[in-house]
Symmetry: C2
Subunit: 216 residues, 2 copies
Amino acid sequence: MSDGAAPPPVAGRGRRPPRAGGDDRELAILATAERLLEERTLGAISVDDLARGAGISRPTFYFYFPSKDAVLLTLLDRVAAEADATMGAVFDTPAAGPREAWQRALAAYHETFRRHRALTVAWAEARSTSEAVRTLWGEVFERWVQRCATAIEAERARGAAPAGPAARDLAIALTSMNERVIYGSLSGDGPAVADADVVPVLLRVWLAAVYGDEPH
Amino acid sequence: MSDGAAPPPVAGRGRRPPRAGGDDRELAILATAERLLEERTLGAISVDDLARGAGISRPTFYFYFPSKDAVLLTLLDRVAAEADATMGAVFDTPAAGPREAWQRALAAYHETFRRHRALTVAWAEARSTSEAVRTLWGEVFERWVQRCATAIEAERARGAAPAGPAARDLAIALTSMNERVIYGSLSGDGPAVADADVVPVLLRVWLAAVYGDEPH
DNA sequence: GAACGAGTCAACAGGGTGTCGAGCTACGGC
DNA sequence: GCCGTAGCTCGACACCCTGTTGACTCGTTC
């Protein structure tokens, strides 16, 4: 928690001192991780695999990253940033109508994770192993929930959406659905919605949940 | 894969020959697993912990179970059976109205997993590790989806629910939501819906998704 | 050209899994 | 009564993975 007086430019996840030249090695490790994740699950990849893939020995790996999880975390940071950025862009661009807006948001969310299929699946796997991964996901999730809750409240305030459960709870439930449905369609185990149907189905549920009156 | 000619009464998961007396040990292992899961995560429990907890040595453990996962699987089989039974009971008992019916189904589902909090959390964790666990969950999930899809189709057929996405896709999306929201509220990491609000919020979304017309 | 620090790795310590083979115990048959 | 057999038990082993240590190289910098 205490950064010394010297400037620690990048903070924590990567190499201890973020200076100097062996940068390629760090990149090579990250690239190797991403490549191996395309073919095996995270648990089936050892530090040795990562090191060899990057052309270094196992101890040298530890010079660059404190653990296998840290590598994943670095990769995940990128995806998280990308997801946040995309989401921000979508929420800030005005849309033709509410349906349009939600549709675009869902499609962007889906597309972001689809583009990083292997990483997304590994993310879910590592969530049970690593506190840090869990936390990172929690943050991404929380930001998404907050944006959605705010949007729902705005729709209610302008009379477009009826009152209902706490906007935050609704947002959590619907975001949970997104997460699980998208993960299911990407991971391919168990019953899943076909890739092309993911967004339409999610959209339908979102619209019904946000704008639908209490039926019966 | 080939069971000989002799009757193999229980099949597979537990002790190799399901005969004779050391039954208590097997039970002791299962009890130990359940107890330890209350305090630590599955990954933090070793075969040695299980063995010692049951008062036997590690090699002896392997006489009763082929692996740590097999123990969990045995425990999970029970929960799966219980979930199926509860679900069956709920779907078969006629209710006052549709809202009542869905409400009861969701509450039963929630209650089943809440009663086995530690196991449910371990289940999610083991899904990334063990093919068998993944499969078992897939089966439970699939049964739930089928029942729901059937129910949705019935509601549509009698004109109570409007047309919409394929009933199966809708059922998958909503069941995914259940799974994730309930897991979130049980595991306690990340943003979650408070325990008492889980069923009301889920119910609201289900009803809106099944009975709500396409808005706008 | 000595001192320094980034970068590298062989070797080790430690902990986990799963297996093998030798021993123990009880019980039915002879 | 003793013997074989089958259930049961564990010490010792082989193996794999993680993370650390300490010594060594090599390019800079003064």
